[in-house]
């Protein structure tokens, strides 16, 4: 007798290993355990009532939703919209959850829970079917004569390979605009363009800036210019962060030999992170560190905007600045290198 046909196998198995089977035998699907609703008609009726009530609650939820829609109109404030949203949503949820809970409770308590067994069949097709399938393909290939007609085959393949170009060439030629990636290299900063506060556009006087102050800067531009789409794209490259340091604290900047890119402790650096291009915006006055809130690259504004921590590799490019006769800050030139994240042709 094998162990698993025995109702209490553990206690009675005494067979030695030489007569035991390799593996245990499957005891089969466990016997069905009746639920309370299977044996007690009263419980079944009770559950039927419960399911009915749950569906009724769902109906009430749907009606309440309509009432909420017509009775509670938003009053034009954010709070009013929130209230209307909450009422519409909660009543909607009641009508939906009622259906869901009702249906599942119905299935679990009242529908038959006897397990069924279906057979599975191996997925692979039987060998004779396969043989026929292969024969069909061979016949088809033979009918087409593709093996004999080499030139025809080549022409058909060529035609299929070429036709996508009729679609792809017009698409690709237009999808990238003018495809002039050298635009990455330049911003609208140029000699004598003055610095303005972002977003007001008010010009910045060097004397307005106290030591330790920081300003978000855009290039000076007309109101008309600033309301165009080109402006957003230009601004995306041209934004600058300006800091006035105590001139003694300014250890270094990026000025080459014989030039001065800062003015009396005022340094201006591109605000576009050299990592992946977030605007670098958090300035810490005590340490002179500038932190990118996206990925925490940290730049030292007192030391040529060198990277002191984080995933950026290069310093922020410096905007060479000076003052005009009226004391307004202005650019000496465009940035000396492309701003923002690195790209393949950056140094070409």
């Amino acid at each position: 007798m094998s162990a698993n046909q025995n109702p209490h196998p553990g206690q009675e198995v005494t067979a030695t290993s030489s007569t035991s089977p390799e593996r245990f035998e499957d005891p089969g699907v466990p016997a069905h355990k009746p639920r309370l609703t299977d044996t007690d008609p009263q419980a079944a009726r009770r559950n039927e009532r419960i399911v009915t009530i749950i569906f009724a609650i769902s109906c009430l939820g749907a009606i309440a939703s309509l009432v909420a829609y017509f009775a509670v109109r938003p009053d034009g404030t954010t709070e009013g919209t929130r209230l209307s949203t909450a009422l519409l949503g909660v009543t909607m949820a009641i009508s939906l959850l009622g259906i869901g809970v009702g249906a599942i409770h119905w299935a679990k308590s009242l529908m038959s829970d006897h397990e069924h067994v279906d057979e599975r069949h191996e997925l692979a097709s039987p060998p004779e079917v396969r043989a026929v399938a292969v024969q069909h393909l061979a016949d088809g290939a033979e009918d087409s004569g593709i093996a004999r007609r080499g030139v025809l085959k080549g022409a058909a393949v060529s035609a299929l390979a070429l036709f996508p170009l009729t679609f792809a060439v017009p698409l690709i030629s237009s999808v990238g605009g003018d495809w002039d990636v050298s635009k990455f290299r330049h911003t609208i900063w140029e000699r004598n363009r003055r610095l303005a506060y972002d977003p007001s556009g008010r010009l910045i006087k060097a004397s307005d800036l106290t030591v330790g102050s920081v300003a978000h800067v855009i290039p000076e531009a007309s109101q008309e210019e600033m309301r165009s789409h080109e402006w957003i794209t230009e601004k995306a490259k041209a934004v600058v962060l300006l800091v006035r340091l105590n001139p003694e604290d300014l250890r270094s900047d990026q000025s080459p030999e014989g030039e001065t890119w800062s003015y009396d402790g005022i340094v201006a650096y591109s605000k576009i992170c050299t990592h992946v291009g977030c605007p670098v915006a958090l300035y810490e006055q005590q340490t002179h560190h500038l932190l990118c809130p996206c990925h925490q690259s940290t730049f030292d504004m007192a030391d040529g905007a060198k990277v002191v921590f984080g995933p950026a590799n290069r310093p922020l490019p410096q905007l060479p600045i000076t003052v005009d006769d009226e004391g307004y800050l202005m650019a000496q030139d465009d940035f000396a290198e492309p701003v923002g994240p690195s790209y393949w042709e950056r140094l070409k």
Binding site: N4, P9, G10, Q11, V13, T16, S20, E22, R23, F24, D26, V29, P30, Y69, T78, R82, A86, L88, G89, A93, G98, I99, G100, A103, A107, M111, E115, H116, D118, R120, E122, G177, D178, V181, P199, H229, I232, T233, A236, K237, V239, C273, H275, V276, G277, C278, P279, A281, C294, H295, Q296, S297, G310, P311, N313, S342, Y343, W344, E345, L347
Partner: protein
């Protein structure tokens, strides 16, 4: 037989309206065959089989609410000055039409904000249920033959889900999503050779330009959902074709499927599940505000919010970008710039993670050498190496996601951001290894516990004293079903390969490759716990009436490899 008799004239003509309708339909479609095949089709029952359903149902909710939103959303980047029903702070601001219509559909359209919030929550739940469903499939080995293709389909669906989420998140054209796009632009630019042109391809010129929102709109409402729908069709078709897997248990084999019939039980349960998923999403949309774009404002290239987080499924990429040190990782080769500080975290790391998902079923099939169909699921403990690898993968994913919130961790717990970042950098490498080791040990421990239970039974807490003064605790043997669950599995052994040379000493080609696979196979299956055999159980009982089994000096239960059988205790 006369020509005007209907084909069904041999059976009684239907009399009820439903019967007549069915007869009408069947004569024109033969739908009876499908009803016969599917109405009582058996599906196994388990709560974890609901996870994939939840993904499907949240997708349906996404489609429903998405249609509502497209009625009012205008994906244009044209600039306007806003004067509408939105909050005071937005009045008079210069913004894109896309942003303005997002405000209008939130504040002017009745129920619009509710639909927007349900849509966003449904997207988060969609991705979460996909990920948890994948975990269920992975840890139970449901990807094994014949379901490898369906695993690939599912993995592609997960990636499409990411694409759908990302493209949708960007549509309102607010400051947060705009910075998300800007990061994407930076990542794309880091791709060698074609990076700059790919950026132009996406944006129709320089970032941000005026094309990206309409393009993402088409991607979000047509391209990606159409692909998702088609692949869901394939996914479900294959599921029906293969018949659902079942958890191990009495009477459940690779040749059958044990469960409840589709009609009525699963119609009710699955239909009910849809309404519960929808209902809970509606409740979330009603009570939990999400992505209040009017607090961020329209996109402007200059400002950025501190403590901004992407949606959860993008956190791992964000964390990966944050963890990579920038020092010495930008190389210039022949004047061309290769920024590994972006390329590695944003392209290589996700590439590796996805590659693991794509190839794992095939690797496992190769190292087991198992060519059989599997329809009974594994208990995760019974395949310790797979379970360990899965947990290691999740550990890496979670560490990256946490690193994507390192600034919030720093501000909430008052810790140094730099130290947290360094801790995560180390954890990213050490964590998965440690997690693998711990998980594998736990699995082996659980398997030994199973053996112990099968051999010795449950402790009863009843102490019996014999006449000779000896005390024993009575153990109650497991019943058939309990025992079957614990002995019914295969402990795979490492591959055995042909020797390097044949009988005449000629070198066998392909030996080196086989040896590599054998090495990998040993990594998987060197440590294993064999299931109890009837002989062992018999021996355990023959050993004494009292279940007093002394551990043999060389325990047979854990076999360690072939040559060093006693390495493990």
């Amino acid at each position: 037989m006369s020509t005007d008799t209907s084909p069904s004239s041999t059976v009684e003509p239907p009399t009820t309206p439903a019967g007549k309708a069915a007869d009408y339909l069947d004569q024109r479609t033969g739908v009876g065959v499908a009803v016969k095949e599917f109405a009582r089709k058996v599906f196994p029952d388990h709560w974890s089989f609901m996870l994939g359903e939840m993904a499907l149902f949240s997708f349906v909710v996404l489609l429903l609410t998405g249609v509502f939103l497209t009625m009012f959303f205008d994906p244009s980047m044209a600039l306007i000055e806003y004067h509408g029903a939105g909050p005071e702070s937005m009045q008079g601001q210069l913004m894109s039409v896309a942003f303005a219509s997002t405000l209008d559909l939130s504040f002017e359209v009745r129920g619009g904000l509710l639909m927007r919030q349900i849509h966003h929550w449904a997207a988060l739940v969609f991705m979460a249920s996909i990920v948890v469903h994948m975990m269920r499939v992975f840890f139970t080995g449901a990807f094994r033959k014949p379901r490898e293709i369906n695993w690939l389909v599912g993995t592609v669906l997960m990636i499409l889900g990411l694409a759908a989420g990302f493209s949708g998140y960007s549509l309102p054209d607010d400051v947060l999503s705009g910075n998300g796009l800007r990061i994407t632009d930076g990542v794309v630019k880091s791709i060698p050779v074609i990076g700059s042109y790919t950026s132009y391809f996406l944006f129709g010129g320089e970032f941000p330009g005026e094309h990206i929102i309409p393009r993402l709109f088409t991607v979000h409402i047509l391209l990606v959902p159409a692909l998702i729908l088609v692949l869901i069709g394939v996914h479900l078709f294959l599921m029906v074709l293969h018949k659902h897997t079942q958890y191990p248990g009495g009477g459940r084999t690779d040749k059958n499927v044990v469960g409840y019939p589709l009609f009525p039980v699963y119609i009710a349960k699955m239909g009910g599940n849809f309404f519960i998923v929808f209902g809970i999403l509606a409740l979330m949309g009603a009570t939990m505000s999400i992505n209040n774009v009017w607090n961020y404002g329209p996109y402007d290239p200059s400002p950025v919010g501190a403590g901004a987080q992407p949606d959860w499924y993008m956190l791992f990429l964000e964390g990966s970008l944050r963890l990579m040190p920038g020092y010495a990782t930008e190389w210039v080769i022949f004047g061309y710039t290769l920024s590994l500080n972006v390329l590695i975290p944003a392209v290589v790391i996700p590439g590796l993670l996805f590659t693991f998902l794509f190839v794992y079923p095939f690797i496992e099939a190769r190292v087991t050498g198992d060519k059989r169909e599997h329809h009974v699921l594994d208990r995760p403990r019974n395949v310790p190496a797979r379970t360990g690898l899965g947990v290691a993968f999740l550990t890496a994913f979670i560490i990256l996601a946490l690193a994507g919130s390192n600034d919030l961790i720093a501000t909430h717990f008052g810790m140094s951001l730099n130290q947290i970042t360094w801790a995560f950098r180390i954890l990213f490498f050490a964590g998965p290894v440690f997690a693998y080791w711990v998980t594998k040990r736990i699995c082996l421990g659980l398997q030994r516990k199973d053996r112990e239970l099968v051999l010795h039974g449950h402790e009863t807490g009843r102490i019996v004293r014999f006449a000779n003064g000896e005390y024993i605790e009575v153990h109650r043997p497991l019943d058939d079903q309990e025992r079957w669950l614990r002995v019914n599995y295969d402990a795979h052994r490492p591959l055995e390969i042909e020797p390097a040379t044949d009988a005449r000493g000629v070198k066998r080609p392909g030996y080196q490759k086989d040896k590599q696979w054998q090495k990998l196979s040993r990594f998987f299956f060197e440590d294993r716990v064999e299931p109890v055999t009837p002989a062992e159980l018999a021996a355990a009982h023959a050993h004494g009436e009292h279940d007093e089994i002394e551990a043999a000096p060389r325990s047979p239960e854990l076999v360690s490899g072939t040559e060093n059988a006693d390495r493990e205790q």
